[in-house]
Structure formats: C-alpha cells, structure tokens
Symmetry: C2
Subunit: 409 residues, 2 copies
C-alpha cells in the first residue's frame, strides 16, 4: 500500500463526521467486521438496557410491567421509531414476528385486496425466504408464484398480478431497485407492491411515502443492530388500513384483547399486524439499535457507506487486485455492500476470516463484503483490502484447514 493511501486513510478517518459513533458499539479488537449486513454489531447501550429489562422490568415488575414498563405498546413504539428511517408515518409501522412471518401476512393481505388475481410476482434469486413465503400461500391454493428477471418484471405485470414483491437492495449483489418506478408500474397494472427493506433499512434512506408503496417488511438484526434473530417490522400505508385483513389473526392484533371474546375483531390500525404476545426481550435490544441508528441519521450513514465502499475499491485498485465486481459499479445504485465473483469465493472468504477479516460467502461463488457505516472506519477498508491482497497473492484458499460453514444472511 502506498504512503499516499495510508495518509489518505488517516485523513478520511480524522475528517469522518460519524467517527465518534464507533465508540457507541462494542466490537472485538482483533477483527475487521464486514458482515454487519448479516448481523449488526452490539450497541454499547444494549447490555444495560437488557439488564434493566430482565432484572427490573421482568424480575421486579413481573406482570405489572405490561402496563408500567410500556410492554403493551412496545411493538408500536419501536415500529414508530423505525418509520422515519423508511419514509413512513409512525402509525404505519409495527415491530413484530420475523421478516418471513410478516411477508406471509402482507402477501396474504395483498391477495385479499385484489380479488380475481392470484399471482405474486418476484424475481428469481430474490432472498430465498421471500420466494418461499409465496410458496406457502401456493400450498394453500391461494397464490401462484411468478418469477421474472428484473428487466422483464414490467412486462410480467399483467392483470393476474395481485402483488409485486421485491427486495429493495439485493442480498447477494446489493443492487437497488428503483422503488418509485417499479411501484408506479405495478400500480398501473392494478397490483399492489410489497418491498422487503431488510438490506436497506438503516444503511440508506428509503422513501416509502414518496414511492407510494403499499406494504413493506424489514429485518431488525442487520443495519438496525437489534441482535441475533431480532423481531422484524412491517409497514402498511395508512390508505390501506381500513381494508387490511391478514390471516394471522392472533390476540395481540385484536381491537380489545382483554375482553377475551370468542370472536376476532382486528385492531383498526397497524396493530392488526401483531399476532402473538410481543417478544419483549427481543424488542428491548431492537429499540436500542433503532434509537442509535436514528440518532446517527440515515442520510449521513448513506454518505459514509458510499465513501467506504468507494475507498475500498480504490484500495483494491492500488493493490492491483482485479476481482469481478457483481455489485453495481455506481455507488448510488447499490446498497451498503460489495460482492465479488470468484470460483474460489468460499475458500477466499474462509482465508480472510482466518486473517481477521469477517465477510461472508453466498452460494455458489460470491464473496460478500458489507460496509455497515455506523461503526466501520476507513482504516478497516485499507486493512481488509491488504488482507485480501495477501490471501490472493499467497493462494491461501488452497489450504486444507478451511472448513465449510454457513452464516445467516
């Protein structure tokens, strides 16, 4: 690495307006963590929030905490805090269940709102659970899954399509859809749109209102730093609240759950998307992550995310590394990640991990590096690039020590 690059790294970190926020996270000292798009890092405030929820609210408050610690409203409260990150109103977002379960609710709700249509359109290679949840409704005889490559999506939007379901930032390549254009195309065809924001939320601004999106879901454990398997969130545009009906009609979505009536009556607003009892411990950790990301601000996070990935590419060029980039070359067209294709991607990923640079591998041949802008430094970019250069130069992927393991999206 040239002196010039090393000097530039120092300058970039010194001038980074988000540099102070790295201290708001607890990170192992010996690694460069490029997998925050799979599991976000631990906010420094989370352990104390968890201790308080466990020892004080649960241990001392016991059942009283449903009222006194605000547990009843926690899903709506955390959802309301996610809302400004995605261009939604607070009463349009709720935190509950998993991304997968929320997909099921909203695909089903969309089908119910478009009688006479049964096609759910998506693209091949979308994140698997999105595609699988359509299949669940196919199993029930209620949906027909149609997949079209992204350049053919507009043409595939015919009068049979009830719901167009897409992931805003592709999990594997980071490629972004034009949310506004696709939503408009779907609406012209009479379909509703469901956006999966799992790889966008907290890394770049999303404007659901501006795009006139109908539904959205997203993940709590990636850029929102809500912890492993954190509760997810779901969005329904206010204009659809009156007609909203989804099949997971649990008691936490009832208009008056404590009347204990035999008959379901959905809550009038977004709360209808709740099903079982709110997962309080998971929501506690999620709320800390959301608060912190909101404090840093998605516009600033996006700016830094772009600067980080551009600088990483600059370092690779400087080091003479010529890998096939499968992410869009223009930073405005991708999420907060860079993905490279290589026949030995799996082994390269493992060799990098052995050197303390944690990225991940995606079948069959993708090395995926995520740049969570809330806690990464430009120094981390330079280090990762240099380690990658070493792995490639020494062909370390040929090592027999490298075993096969999996990680979570």
């Amino acid at each position: 690495m040239s002196e010039a690059i090393i000097a530039q790294t120092r300058e970039l970190d010194a001038a980074d307006p988000l540099g102070q926020f790295r201290g708001e996270f607890i990170l192992p000292g010996d690694i460069v963590y490029l997998d925050g798009n799979s599991l976000g890092a631990l906010p420094r405030r989370t352990p104390e929030a968890m201790r308080r929820a466990v020892e004080e609210e649960w241990g001392q408050g016991l059942i009283r905490s449903w009222n006194e610690a605000g547990w009843f409203e926690m899903g709506a409260r955390v959802g309301g805090k996610i809302a400004p990150l995605i261009g939604a109103h607070p009463h349009e977002v709720i935190a509950c269940d998993s991304t997968s379960v929320n997909l099921f609710k909203l695909i089903a709700a969309g089908l119910q709102m478009r009688p006479g249509r049964n096609v759910v359109l998506s693209e091949p290679g979308n994140f698997p659970t999105d595609l699988y949840m359509i299949e669940g409704l196919e199993r029930q005889g209620l949906a027909s899954r149609r997949l079209a490559e992204r350049e053919k999506l507009a043409k595939a939007l015919d009068e049979d399509v009830a719901v167009l379901m897409l992931t805003h930032a592709h999990y594997k390549t980071g490629e972004l859809f034009d949310m506004k254009a696709l939503t408009e195309a779907a609406h012209r065809a009479g379909a509703l749109v469901l956006w999966d924001l799992s790889h966008s939320t907290g890394a770049l601004p999303v404007d659901l209102a501006g795009a006139k999106a109908d539904f959205a879901v997203g993940c709590g454990y990636k850029y929102l730093c809500g912890g492993p398997g954190a509760p997810a969130f779901a969005y329904v545009a206010e204009r659809h609240h009156a007609a909203l009906a989804q099949p997971l009609t649990g008691w936490f979505g009832h208009a008056r759950p404590f009347v204990f009536s035999d008959d379901y009556e959905g809550a009038p607003g977004i709360e209808q998307l709740q099903c079982g009892t709110s997962p309080i411990l998971g929501l506690t950790a999620l709320e800390v992550g959301v608060d912190l990301i909101a404090e840093i601000g998605v516009r600033r996070l996006h700016t830094k995310s772009q600067a980080l990935s551009e600088f990483f590419l600059q370092c690779l060029a400087e080091l003479g590394i010529d890998l096939e980039l499968v992410s869009p070359a223009a930073s405005h067209a991708r999420g907060s990640q860079l993905s490279f294709r290589h026949d030995e991607a799996y082994s390269i990923c493992q060799a990098l991990i052995a050197r303390g640079v944690i990225g991940d591998f995606r079948d069959p041949d993708i090395l995926r590096l995520g740049f969570a802008p809330a806690y990464l430094r430009f120094e981390d970019m330079a280090t990762a690039a240099m380690q990658l250069a070493q792995v490639l130069a020494q062909e370390e992927w040929r090592s027999e020590d490298i075993g096969r393991r999996a990680t979570v999206t």
Copy 2:
C-alpha cells in the same frame, strides 16, 4: 388465622422438598406472586445467561456465533429439552415463533392432512387466540370453525372435522381435559388433535405419547419462566413428520437453507416448523427456564402445586371465606390455579394487588390465582388468604383508587 394453621404453614414449608428452589428465582421481597401462570418469575441464572449471550456471543462472536455458540440448533435444542416435560421425544418438539403462529401452522397442517374435511372444532371460551387463529384460516376460505361446549364435543366430532383443537388446562378455570379420552374420540371420528399446553407445561405432567396426540403447542413465558413474550414451542408426533406440510415456509425450515435455492424444500423433521431466523435472545432466556423446571421435575412440581392449592382452600375455610370456586374442586382435575367468581372480582383483584398479592382478573367476573409450584411457599398461601379475607371484610373493592388495567394471560 388459628395457631394451628400458622404452625402447619411452618411445618409444610420446612418439609417441602422443593423449598430449596425458591432461591433459584429472583422475586420482589414485598409481594406474594400468584400470577406465574401469566408471566413466570425470573430464574436467578437468567441475567448471567443473557449477559453472556449479549456481550460474548453477540458482541464478541458476532456472526460466528451462529456456528460457534450453537445458535443454528437452538430452536431444536430448547425444544428437545421441553420434550420430556410433555411426554414427547426430543426430535418431536421445537421452540420457535409465538403460540399463536404455531397454532396457525398446525391447524393448517392438520387441514392439509385431512382432505375433504374443513371443520376445526373447539370449545367456546377457549383461550381467545386459539379461536382467533381458526378464524384466520376461515378468512382464507380454508377452514370452518365449530364450537361446542365440552360435554357436547364428542357428539360434534363428525366426518367434517379435520382437527380438534383444545387447551389442556383452561386458562380461566384451570379445568383439565382428559387428553387421552378426547384424543381417542377424535381419532375414532377420523380427526387429528391439536393440544394447547400453555397452562400445563411445567406445572403438571403431560403425556402426549400416551395420549397418542398428533400436534401440540405451548407457551414459553408461563410455568417455563422464559420471560415476557418468550418463544413458544410446537410438537408434531413423529408418525406425522413425513406428511407434514405447513404454510409458513420460511428459510429456517428449509432442508438446506444455505444453498439459497429459489424453491422451498421443507426440512425432513420438526425443523420444518421453523419459519424465520431463530430469536436467539428470547431462546436464551427460555432455555434457562426450561433447564430449571426440568431439574425440579414436573412430577414433583405437580405434587406441590396440588398441595399449595389445597392448603389455600383450607386457609380460606379456616378464615370463613366462602367464595364461589369455578375451578374443579378436585385437585387432580385442575391445573395449577384456582379461580373464583365474584361480581366485584375486578376490584377485589385490584385491592389484593394494593396489598401486595398479585393475582389477575379475567372478564367478566373471575379472580384468578395461580400457584407456580417452583417458587411459591405455603407461607404465601396463608398470607394471600389472610389478605383476601381483609379485602372482603373491609369491602376494599369499593375504593375509588382502584383503576382498570389489563394483564397478559
């Protein structure tokens, strides 16, 4: 209270073989907690387990903990530990999602296994979410809900019934169903049976295998002491694994989730009931509770539960309190609770809470007192009975200070 009763209280606590386990829980010093059937108390080991999961596994291990901390297998591992409490094999139980979501999966699976039948039979007054989840499938046009009073259930089991779904211990009255007899009756009629064990698991022995039950679900936050909104569990008898198909086909239930294929292929065993990414923080707390309850042992817990409630009734009699008991009078016929009907039940409950005895109220007129046998003492029974006597003698329910609040089942 007579000297004799006070002496008896001391003797009973001194001779209690489970007395030592109260120290395994953290309880507020100033209350008698008779709501462990709604939210179980905090095990003493939970805070450290949570700290380790948050600070070490998440904070330091990050994404590596999916492999190295056993997160991938956590749902199956915790399910396997619940299995012996309910008469199941470890590979027949999994911890995931909420009770409500698991009900949906298994009602739908049952309907799918009984083509030509669409009735789901239950009883009016069953826990609301159980009844509501049938309605969700009705909304989809896939089920027809039929409710019959318990003495008419056998007659209502005709050739249209696909699934009989009942709660083993009634949430309001504690009344127990004869699981074996009802299961046999359903099977004779060609139906499958789904048992909700939310108010049984951890308080009394359940024998799913002996009853030849098909499906079951249960709650993690009551007698299992898994924390507020803990993950729930689901059981499918091994003989049904091959035919099992449920509609919440998320990636965590896929046979090979990390192949990231576009097409769903369910895992061959109980793992197929998983949907989204496992909620690790919730499962961490649940595992501690399950371990502790398993260590104490459900047979001993049941014996003590019966002794506690019998002694409470004895104290009431001693104090001349004549309340209408709506729970079965015979302890073998009820779960670990006593419920009383009174026109002023709500206000009596509030007055008791003001005196440090926490029970709960169930619409419209039920005072429900739960006797979690893992951490309650006979002394608590005497105290609660004396406080109740005071509330009734002084008609404290007439106080205007008593506001209306709700608590979670």
